[in-house]
Amino acid sequence: MPDAAAIAAPVRRPGMRFVVRLESLAVLAVLVIVLAVLSPYFLSVSNFLNILLATSVIGVLAYGATFVIAAAGIDLSLGSVLGLSGVVGALSVNELGLPWPFGILACLATGALCGTVNGLLNARAGIPAFIVTLGMLGVARGLGLVLTNGVPVYGLDPVLVYIGQGRPAGVPFPVIVFLLTGGVAHFVLAYTRFGKYALVIGDNEGAARAMGVRVQRQRVALYALSGMMAGLAGLLFMARTNAGDPTGGLNYELTAITATILGGTNLFGGRATIFGTLIGALIMGVLQNGLNLLAVSSFYQQMAIGAVLVLAVWLDQVNRTRARR
């Protein structure tokens, strides 16, 4: 049996693992230049930290989405799981009186648990991922509302608040988490057997099976990981807002998937990088920030993000068609 990992890498040239789809970087660069020209407030360290801070929660969520999409899956429950995780984390500290480390643990565990359920229902019971995670979207959101009776759990332990609002060395804590997690996730997806298997499954599930990849088990693990990322995003969200908010993260799954696609990940699996997703999330963050600085109505902001998404993917298609010729 051939070594799956050797075949796995969807990499055409050495070094490609680091290189993001050129179009994504180009879009980001153009955005930054245009905004720097249009707004005198754009180019400053504090504004860039704002952008990173505003992107942190979505970014971490998008990492989770990337792993699942890499293996040709989809996770629509990310936003709801984010909300539920924050609620459970806040309740475990505020209501059960557990010390703050358990609050962190509760967020991550809730996310991972939801993800595992998604994975088992998808891989073992054979229900399509779209349906399983759509179901989880409803169940997790509803459970969060039930647990809190619809009212946010306000006022967290100071340590938890620091995770969301603290600024060690002037850098917002969520930004540190966002970038560090990105580094680790990039390594896992691009360099470990786990990540390579995910990409092989996404590229060709039958081939992956033939190579001896245990597809079902791998799937469960991927959804669990994506759920845990949603839990981490839930922790950041909770800490930033100093509350376990049952409505937190509404529709975030779509934003996270958008960031993933903007970063060059193929929606149908087989091609994905976390670094690309980070760039994708930043494109959305920069765009939103810039439009805010220019005081453009939020209605136009949604149009702009939609347009940039289609533009980036279109440029990618054009280049791919060319490359094949």
Binding site: L53, T241, A295, S297, A307, R322
Partner: protein, 326 residues
């Protein structure tokens, strides 16, 4: 290829941004205004008030809002971004009482007074988070409920007897609670013969309010009035009442004074709506913020009056507050 690609991106980006570039003097003080969402007539009217208030006060402002009144985290991000432009004052309508606090704390630290539009912040919670609110301006929801009760008693008489239904807002929502409790407390004082048959959450939802009205009409045939914590629900209740053939026999009161309610009142279906005047709130907020910047201390809360709209008030068109209806 790359060059053409960049050109395409640049063109798209310019298209997207073209109209947004602000035109203003470089160092005039600018007020930052952060609303919830503009896709709601209430905030639209508030925006008009702010615009006219700023024009009259001769100040510049820039306004931001988010895509929905649920988008809490995006609002915090927007708030942080606004601070980059270093506005002279931050006038905010927070999506909930806690979300903006980290940003407003920074605003305070940068020397900006913080104004709370429509009483979305809690002064005690804000103080705990290190935020000093210069003043809160908005409608007094308890008073709006009371006004509704007093109008009802005036219509039916202090000796009236019968059951009254109260339809509250979203369960746990403070605005709906204040309106409902203001109504209930005042009614108990002004007309002891009118008993509250039920006080149920209608979740701001037309359909749900219609169902509640139906159920209670069945249970309490002596129902004489329905008070709803907003107009949307009142309009739902109206439909049930007329469908049950009790139109004109049961008095229905809403709160907000939105345009659909005005139409319904003119058509003789809805009896009254306690109108809020978001236009006036926005206008006065800017005026008072200017005074704060000039060093004047404002009282912690300023309440803009509410107005009971009825068919008579609307047709006579004499009440001076009507000019602020938008």
């Amino acid at each position: 290829m790359t060059r053409r690609m960049l050109a395409a991106c640049a063109a798209a980006a310019l298209l997207a941004f073209g109209h947004g570039a602000p035109a203003r003097a470089a160092d005039a003080p600018v007020y930052g205004v952060l609303l919830k969402t503009l896709s709601n007539p209430f905030w639209g009217a508030m925006e008009k008030g702010i615009r006219d208030g700023a024009k009259e006060a001769g100040v510049e402002y820039f306004m931001q809002a988010v895509e929905s009144d649920q988008a809490a985290e995006p609002q915090l991000n927007t708030c942080n971004t606004m601070l980059e432009r270093k506005p002279a004052v931050m006038i905010t309508a927070a999506i909930n009482s806690t979300i903006l606090l980290p940003c407003l704390k920074r605003a305070n630290e940068m020397g900006m007074p913080v104004v709370d539009l429509d009483a979305n912040l809690d002064h005690a919670i804000a103080a705990k988070a290190g935020v000093k609110i210069a003043f809160t301006i908005g409608s007094d929801n308890v008073a709006a409920g009371k006004q509704g009760a007093n109008w009802l008693v005036q219509k039916l008489g202090a000796g009236a007897k019968g059951s009254v239904l109260v339809i509250e807002g979203l369960a746990g929502n403070i605005t709906g609670q204040k309106r409902a409790s203001g109504f209930r407390d005042e009614l108990a004082k002004a007309a002891p013969g009118l008993k509250i048959a039920a006080s149920l959450p209608g979740d701001w939802d037309r359909q749900k309010a219609a169902n509640i009205a139906n159920d209670i009409m069945t249970r309490n045939p002596d129902l004489v009035a329905i008070f709803c914590a907003n107009d949307t629900m009142a309009l739902g209740a109206v439909e049930s009442v007329f469908a049950a053939g009790k139109g004109g026999k049961i008095t229905i009161i809403g709160v907000d004074g939105n345009s659909d309610a005005v139409k319904s009142i003119k058509a003789g279906r809805l009896d009254a709506s306690v109108a809020q005047l978001p236009y006036l709130v926005g206008k006065e907020a800017v005026e008072k913020a200017k005074e704060v910047l000039a060093g004047k201390q404002q009282s912690e809360y300023t309440y803009v009056p509410t107005l009971v709209l009825t068919k008579q008030v609307l047709t006579e068109n004499k009440d001076p507050l009507l000019q602020y209806m938008r």
